[in-house]
Amino acid sequence: MFELKIFTASFIADKFVQTFIEEDRWKTFASGLGVTLFITFFAAILGIIIGMTVAVGKVWCYQSGRLKILDRIFDVYLTVIRGTPTLVQLLIMYFIILKSVDNGIIIAILAFGINSGAYVAEIVRGGILGIDKGQMEAGRSLGLSAWTTMRKIILPQAIKNILPALGNEFITLLKETSVVGYIAITDLTKAAVAVQARTYDAMFPLVSIALIYLLLVTVMTWLQRKVERRLAKSDRR
């Protein structure tokens, strides 16, 4: 009889009230969701900026054979960031490098942005290398500079090809932010844990945020497909 009880409507309604309504707990979830989205959004932007810069920089160093030191610096960045756990990077940022900064959200954005930048860099670099080198030659032969050709001709085509991989990266980023509780930020995950500590019920808060994450990822996937379709208009025959 006990097993059946957890599936009854009144039981679920009770748990719902307890988890979200009592003591206005929905506000904890709402603000946690806001924090998760805020960190993800700005970390993604930072990641795109860093990733694009590193990718274009590395390709340029490789093709021109110049500024080998810069190339080495980028390599060290990629190796260190991809070679250590994100959570460890976050903790090092919080407790060591940015010890004097007391805004945890800024620290999280920096840590996740720098982390994501390394993955974005390799995705973008792969995308650039996948474009036929005749495209660069055609641009240059018309008198366009290497930078203009990169911006107007190579990158638009590369980004179209790497969109699924980039989508993957930002989905991973969203989910990875769930560890920010470690540096005393109340994001969506931490909110659920906090509510659980008050109500002594684990299932309802945790399953709820799992569904919220799932919904967010679904929306991101939908957005990605939409952009993909728009960029694919030149593929029609």
Binding site: D132, G134, Q135, E137, A138, G139, R140, S141, L142, G143, L144, S145, T148, K152, I153, P156, Q157, K160, L231, K233, S234, D235, R236, R237
Partner: protein, 240 residues
């Protein structure tokens, strides 16, 4: 117009071009033929510095283009290039392909460039393709648009790197026709090709390259009827 002095190109130990000196004057139509691997494409690509020479000098309209101080982008605006694989920009429409460079380099306003592009497209009978993407076009159409894209910059010389080698045989004709009419209008042209008919008909001078050297050169009448170098005799006997 183009002055090449002691041009040399090496990839490591592999010498691709050996000590080439050549002058190309305004209005000339120079056709370069030779077996594959003879260095003819490399030579052509050195002229606008898509390949950087390892020795020698290339002068264009009074500028030493393979020197540090030279603004190669400004030089390339005056040298159109047509590639074997067209290299149209697949993410842009035909119109955008043609107008991108002149507008971005501020040679023409957007309206001027589009008008010019429409004029050029109507010349080649592809006015209706202005808003099409390269994917929708046949090989011959792509190559003719690539030629028009280069012409939109009003170049002083056009370089053709095997412009018909990647085309279906039935589409070679339309591209050669366009090149012929360009030649008739007085364009200075340097053409690497395997089309001996085109060389015979259009060239003012034919160069035979082999093993990284210009082994022989002559006006087409003499080049094809009275070849002197044994390698050229052998080459012509195989291709004609």
């Amino acid at each position: 117009m183009i002055d090449v002095k002691n041009l040399e190109k090496k990839y490591g130990e592999n010498i691709v071009l050996k000590n080439i000196s050549e002058t190309i004057c305004k209005g000339e139509k120079v056709v370069i033929v030779g077996p594959s691997g003879s260095g003819k494409s490399t030579f052509l690509r050195c002229l606008n510095l898509l390949e950087v020479p390892t020795g020698g000098e290339i002068w264009f309209e009074g500028n030493l283009i393979n020197s540090r101080g030279c603004n190669i982008d400004a030089i390339r605006m005056k040298m159109g290039m047509v590639f074997q694989h067209f290299n149209l920009f697949p993410h842009l429409t035909v119109m955008e392909n043609i107008t991108l460079a002149p507008v971005h380099l501020k040679l023409q306003t957007k309206a001027e460039a589009e008008e010019n592009a429409r004029r050029l497209l109507s010349l080649i009978g592809l006015s209706d393709k202005a808003e099409a993407y390269p994917q929708m076009l046949s090989g011959g159409q792509k190559q003719r648009i690539a030629i028009v894209r280069a012409l939109a910059m009003n170049p002083d010389v056009m370089l053709f790197d095997e412009p018909t080698s990647a085309l279906d045989p039935e589409m070679v004709g339309e591209v050669l026709e366009l090149m012929k009419s360009l030649a008739e209008q007085g364009m200075t042209m340097v053409v690497v090709t395997h089309e001996m008919g085109f060389a015979r008909e259009v060239a003012t001078r034919v160069l035979f390259m082999d093993e990284g050297e210009i082994k022989e050169q002559a006006p087409p009448s003499e080049f094809f009827t009275n070849p002197k170098h044994p390698r050229l005799k052998d080459f012509l006997s195989k291709v004609l």
